[in-house]
């Protein structure tokens, strides 16, 4: 049985594992950025649509 020890965190990643982790980190970063952009755009599109409907005709 492994006893919890600070040393357990000192795992040395192989070069392959480091490259794989970097690749996953970049993909997660890109996916999160894409998600933010998607929700931002969708909010603008939807609110823009509603705002146009609420706008007084003199302003249109």
């Amino acid at each position: 049985m492994i006893v919890a020890d600070k040393n357990l965190e000192l795992v040395t990643l192989t070069e392959r594992q480091q490259k794989a982790r970097r690749s996953r980190s970049i993909a997660i970063g890109v996916a999160l950025a894409a998600l933010v952009i998607i929700f931002y755009i969708a909010t603008i599109v939807r609110f823009g649509h509603h705002a146009a409907g609420l706008m007084p005709t003199s302003l249109m």
Partner: protein, 314 residues
Amino acid sequence: MALADDRLMEDAGFRMSEATAGDFFALLKPRVMSLVVFTAFVGLVAAPVSINPLLAVIAILSIAIGAGASGALNMWYDADIDAVMTRTASRPVPAGRVSPGEALSFGLVLSALSVMTLGVLINWLSAALLAFTIFFYAVIYTMWLKRWTPQNIVIGGAAGAFPPVIGWAAVTGSVSLESLILFLIIFLWTPPHFWALALFKSDDYARAGIPMMPNVAGQASTRRQIFAYALVLAPIGVLPWALGYTSAAYGAVSAVLGAGFVWYAWKVLGMSDDDRSMKPAKALFGYSLLYLFAIFAAYLVDSVVGQVLMTGGA
């Protein structure tokens, strides 16, 4: 050197992942996903009302991610049989690049994310249809039908047929007869497409213990059923024109494509039991891919041209 090296971590049940982003992308079955994206796009464009182009992109992306998520769940569950089939042995889970737990988590998170995104940003009918499609593919087809009955691909084919209905629902908020005909075309196309593959990969399926039609009913029966489905599929492909949804141009193209499908299926029907090369089955498999792409492309072009003519190009 650290005390807790890789060996120690593995003994303790940990494994430092070597899965790259590409391995996770492969879990989404990108080739299947491309077909889903295309057919969903056709459903979305063919709908009689329009949608903001940015929302359309988001809808297609959500449908694609949902389809990919169901692919990841399929690869998680089927890792044991994928490992013994030459066609699938190099997939990320059986090859050991992605652990089953990682594939399961990935599939579940993407399923939830895609359905919620579609629901919140587009509409809840399309989100519900996407959720049902994921459930149908991952649970009904993968976990139940695939290993149980030679009709697996007939019933399970419904999962692959839903994308144009979801695309249509994303725009209109409803399901119509026209979108159901697009569903029917893919639904009837699926059995002859996969049975053609199963004919020349029957050893693979037998080794994995999957009850595909050639392994259960025999090759002769499978060839007859392929031909029967081709005879039904060809007129269904022309149905959108017969019901007045498209122009005669689509009707002509779909009739020619359908006749080609029947011709290739006829060649398969005439195959002898000793035919080891299975050239007619391979030819039908290739043609069936072309057929589906071409008939949906024809539908897409016809819809776009029809909409442009109706609005006078404005």
